[in-house]
């Protein structure tokens, strides 16, 4: 597969690899994809008291495009509030990385990972508020 320099750089020196504490109420976690399909992304965000994403980490089982897409999107979401983070579209990721058509699903998966992590964070917060009440 012929990849762009952007993909190769992110594959060789991927940023934001790792995990955050899943039990932390301020952390949202998502796992998207399936091993049987050859792509799994686990993505986590940490939200600060101002509602902004202060940290994001990922782990990926997949090809270069999956790794690069996750590394890029975890970089982009940091410092953004949840609405802004939701507005990052797979098209932006694919364009930035010049992904070949056959690899577009990797950027779709990365977008899905962010939105599911936000959902997870929000549902955790909702449950927390219920408990307080």
């Amino acid at each position: 597969m012929k990849y762009s320099k952007e993909v190769m750089d992110l594959y060789q020196n991927p940023k934001n690899i790792g995990s955050l504490d899943e039990n932390d109420a301020n952390v949202g976690t998502s796992v998207v994809g399936a091993p049987s399909c050859g792509d799994v992304i686990k993505l986590q965000i940490k939200v600060d008291e101002n509602g902004c994403i202060s940290d994001a980490k990922f782990k990926a089982f997949g090809c270069g495009a999956a790794i690069a897409s996750s590394a890029l999107i975890t970089d982009w979401v940091q410092g953004k509030n949840l609405e802004e983070a939701k507005n990052i579209k797979n098209k932006d990721v694919a364009e930035h990385l010049s992904l070949p058509p056959v690899k577009l699903h990797c950027s779709v998966l990365a977008e899905e990972a962010v939105s599911k992590a936000i959902e997870d964070y929000q549902s955790k917060q909702k449950n927390l508020n219920k408990k307080i009440i």
Binding site: Y11, I17, S36, G38, K59, A60, F61, C63
Partner: protein, 384 residues
Amino acid sequence: MIYLDYQATTPCDQRVLDKMLPYFCEIYGNPHSSTHVMGEEAADAVEKARAQVADIISAENPKDIIFTSGATEANNLAIQGIAHFYKERGNRIITSVIEHPCVLETCKALAREGFDVVFVPVLSNGIIDLDSFKKAITSETILASIMTVNNEIGTCQPIDEIGKLCHERGIIFHTDAAQAIGKIPVNVKNIDLMSISGHKIYGPKGIGALYINGKERLRVSPLFHGGRQERGMRSGTLPTPLCVGIGAACEIAAKEMREEYTRLVAFKSYFLRQIFDNLPKVYLNGDRDKSIPGCINLSFDGVEGEGIMLGMRDICVSSGSACSSQTLEPSYVLKSLSIREDLAHSSIRIGFGRFTTQEEIEYTASKIIETVRKLRKMSPIWND
């Protein structure tokens, strides 16, 4: 750059190229022009090549060899040609699920024409399930096609046994031997048709051959019509330099096979020891013993095949993962082994050959170990 993809293709041996060169600009006569000296010289070269090809498969009569454009054409000619020529005899064709796409797709095309095609499964070690094969045989069966050596996992199929089985029941037996020639001894004793490729044996691309058993007076319907070259079964002017090339490649391969085999066996055992000693949960796809030594297919739990290849761009290997194919489907050969689906995505094939060195193998093993360790650290489905 290290080339370890010898199942995909091989470099042309310089000795082969040297033999070919005079037939481009000096002895350029049409080998079918028997009326003048230039034609005769070209014809002599083609006939010598035919004999060299016949020799490596122990075919008694060189006339039983037909030159084609490659193994794909040879397989098409054999399977379509027999099916069409002998369609009055019966309707059933038996093949296996791990054949090369040029066999599978040819059989599927025949199925669309109305032939009854059975795709026999393989056991988990990649060897054909003989019981299923036997059960598939009916009085309607006219042809069976089973490859000699698989191109993805290197397993050697029991073609002698299958050939005997076929002959007891009056079935014509074809084998695609593209991956076997020059690697293991191959003999057409129990075989009716055999496909051969030039570029898999250090010869040129664009040439192959089909052995058709002359003693049984077998015929195949031609794929295309023309000047009735190759006894009417394959029209078209023969490419003299390419014929000379595949002939020379066969002669060298036959001479050096034993020595090469021994060398590759040592490479394989060294390489596997390095990998298994340094990485847990690595699985060999296929059969460690019933396979050619130059083809190693491994699955690395927790990491994806294309991801591994990207980490070692200075080494040319191939992968069975969906990500490295245009169809986004993992290898059908690996799927047929009933391995875990994620492991089909986690595979790479390492192919050793004539020009592989011990240093290259040592470097590749250490690079794979390093890359897999790095990728496992970032894998959500791997726990140390």
